[in-house]
C-alpha cells in the first residue's frame, strides 16, 4: 500500500499512534514506579515525579522474597522443557513428515487432541497423576505435561516436508540409517525452525503460571511467576507499589529486553509457531 495518504488515512494513523501510547502506559508506569524513591508516595495520584531515580526498591524486593531461587527454578524449568522438546518434536516431526506406517492417522489424532484441549483444562487429573508418581512439588512435575508438544511437532513436520528427497536418498545410499539421516541432513536444514521454536517455547514457559502454581508448594521449587504472585499478594495489602513493580520488573525484564532487541525474530517466531 504505497498510495498517497488521504486525510482519512492520517486521522486513522494518528488514532493508532495515540492508542499505542495508551497500550504502553502500564509498562511506562511499571518501570517509573520501580525506580521511584519511597519518600515520594504513589498514592498522591501523580503518575510521574520530579525526583531522582533509585535502585533501593530492587534491593528491598530481592531481600523480601527469594528471587534468586525463583530465577534459578525458572531457568531450570524453561531449559529443561526446551531441551526435551527439541528431542520429541524433531523425532515426531520426522516420523510424520517422512514415514508411512500402520496407525499413523490415529497417532496424529492423539497429537491434535493436545491442540484442542490445552493443558490448563486438565490440571485436576494431571495433578492426581503427578501425585500418584510422587512428583508433587518438584521442578520435573512442572515440566512433564509440556515435553510432548503437538504445536512443535507439526512445525517440524512442515519444515521436514520441504527437505528435498534427493538429499535424503543420497545419505541413505551412503549407508546412513534413519537417525543418521535425521542428524546429518534434516536437523541442519531445520535449524532456523528450531531457533524460532525455542524463542516461543522460552517465552511461553517463562510466563506460565497456573500449572506451576498448582504443582509447587514451597519456595525452593517455585518459578518466578508463582513467587511473584505470592510476593504481590503480600505487598498489595500494604499498597507498597514500588516494591511490587520492582519485583515485577525483575521478572519481566529478561524477556522484554530480549524482545525489544530482537523484535523481528520474536514476532517471526510467534507467528510460525502459531501456524499449524
Amino acid at each position: 500500500m504505497n498510495k498517497k495518504m488521504t486525510f482519512f488515512d492520517w486521522a486513522m494513523y494518528v488514532t493508532t499512534a495515540a492508542v499505542a501510547l495508551g497500550w504502553l502506559i502500564p509498562l511506562i508506569w511499571m518501570v517509573a514506579t520501580s525506580i521511584r524513591p519511597e519518600t515520594s508516595p504513589v498514592g498522591t495520584g501523580s503518575m510521574l515525579w520530579g525526583g531522582s531515580a533509585t535502585f533501593a526498591n530492587f534491593q528491598r524486593a530481592w531481600s523480601t522474597a527469594p528471587f534468586g531461587t525463583y530465577y534459578k527454578n525458572t531457568v531450570i524449568i524453561v531449559l529443561g522443557i526446551l531441551c526435551t522438546q527439541m528431542i520429541t518434536i524433531t523425532l515426531g516431526g520426522y516420523v510424520f513428515a517422512r514415514m508411512n506406517f500402520r496407525g499413523k492417522d490415529w497417532l496424529f489424532v492423539a497429537f491434535l487432541l493436545q491442540l484442542m484441549v490445552p493443558a490448563e483444562a486438565l490440571v485436576v487429573p494431571n495433578y492426581a497423576t503427578v501425585d500418584a508418581i510422587g512428583l508433587v512439588n518438584t521442578r520435573v512435575a512442572v515440566m512433564l505435561p509440556y515435553i510432548a508438544s503437538a504445536m512443535g511437532t507439526f512445525l517440524m513436520r512442515q519444515t521436514f516436508k520441504q527437505v528435498p528427497r534427493d538429499l535424503e536418498e543420497a545419505a541413505i545410499i551412503d549407508g546412513c540409517n534413519h537417525l543418521q539421516v535425521l542428524w546429518h541432513v534434516f536437523i541442519p536444514i531445520a535449524r532456523p525452525t528450531l531457533a524460532a521454536w525455542a524463542l516461543s517455547s522460552i517465552s511461553f514457559h517463562w510466563n506460565n503460571f497456573f500449572w506451576p502454581l498448582i504443582v509447587t508448594n514451597t519456595n525452593d521449587v517455585r518459578p518466578l511467576t508463582v513467587g511473584l504472585a505470592m510476593f504481590t499478594k503480600a505487598a498489595e495489602t500494604g499498597a507498597d507499589w514500588s516494591l511490587i513493580t520492582a519485583g515485577t520488573v525483575m521478572v519481566v525484564a529478561p524477556l522484554l529486553i530480549a524482545f525489544f532487541l530482537f523484535q523481528k525474530q520474536f514476532i517471526n517466531s510467534f507467528m510460525r509457531s502459531g501456524i499449524k
Binding site: A17, P26, N100, E120, P125, A148, T245, T248
Partner: protein, 307 residues
Amino acid sequence: MAQPAVKVGPAGKPVKRRAPSPGWGPYLLLLPSMILLAAFTIYPMISSGYLALFHANLANREPVWAGVENFQALFTSDLFLKSLKNTVVFAVVTIPASVLLAIWLALQLNRKVRSVSFLRAAYFYPTMLPLVSAASVWNFFYNPNYGPVNLLVRLFGGTAQNWLGDPQTALPAVMFVSIWKDAGYFMIFFLAGLQSLPSDVFEAAELDGANRWQQFWKITFPLLSPTTLFVATISFINAFKAMDQIFVMTGGGPENTTSTLLFYIWQQTFQFWDKGMGAAASVVLIVILLAVALFNQFYVDKKVHYE
C-alpha cells in the same frame, strides 16, 4: 523353513517389490511423545470422566460411587451456572473485540510509514509479559482511590468506580485486560495475512469504482477468513482457559461475577477439596473444547475461503 528367494505371484511372475516396511522404527521414534501424550493429554480426559462418577471430597476420603449425581449437582448449582455463563460472556465479548481490534491495527500498521515498527512493538509487547504480572499492574490502574483509570474518568467528567469491586464492572474490567494482552499478538497474524493478498484484485476493484469500505468488506475480509478463523480459535481457547488474571485481580469475586469455568474447577478441587465436582466440571470444559474444535474442523473449515 527355507524362504523362497523371490516371492512369486499367482501367474508365476515375481511380485513387484514394495518399499521396505519401516518396521518398529516410527513407533520407537514416536515413543517419547506418545508416552507423554498418553499420560498428560489422553489419560486425564478419560480419568476425569471416571472420577466425575464418584463422590471424592473431604467427607468421602475413599471415593464412593455417585453415578451422575455430580453432574446433577453441577447443573443445579448457582455458582457453577454463573461460572459457565461468565465464561461464555468472556468468550462472546473478547473474541470479536480482540479480533476486530487486531484487524484494524494490522490495516493501519501494514504500510511503510515511519515509526511503524515501534507502533507494532507497542501493541505486541503485552504478549511478552506473564499474565499474572500484567494483572497486578492493572490492579493498580483500577484502584478506586488513586488508580489512573479513575483519574482519567474524572478528567472527562465521569464518576469514579470501584472497577474490580463492583459486580457490574468487574468482569468487563478483567476482559479489557485480556483484550489489551492479546490484540497485538493477533495483529501479527493479520499482518502476515494482508501481506499475502494479491494486489491485482484490489487494482481491479479500484478500476470498477469500489471504495475503501467496499474493498474491505468484499475483498480483504473474505480473503482473510482463514486467518480470522485461526485467530478466533486461539482467542476462544484463551477465553476458556482464563485463570491467571482472575486469580490475581478478583479471586472470582465480587459476588462470583468473575468466576469462570476454570476458576470454578480450581476452587472446587484445590480450595474445597471436592475432587469429584472438580472432575465433573472438567468434563464439561473438555466436552465444550472438543465440540468447538470438531465443529471448526468439519463445518466452519469447509465454509472458509482458502486460496
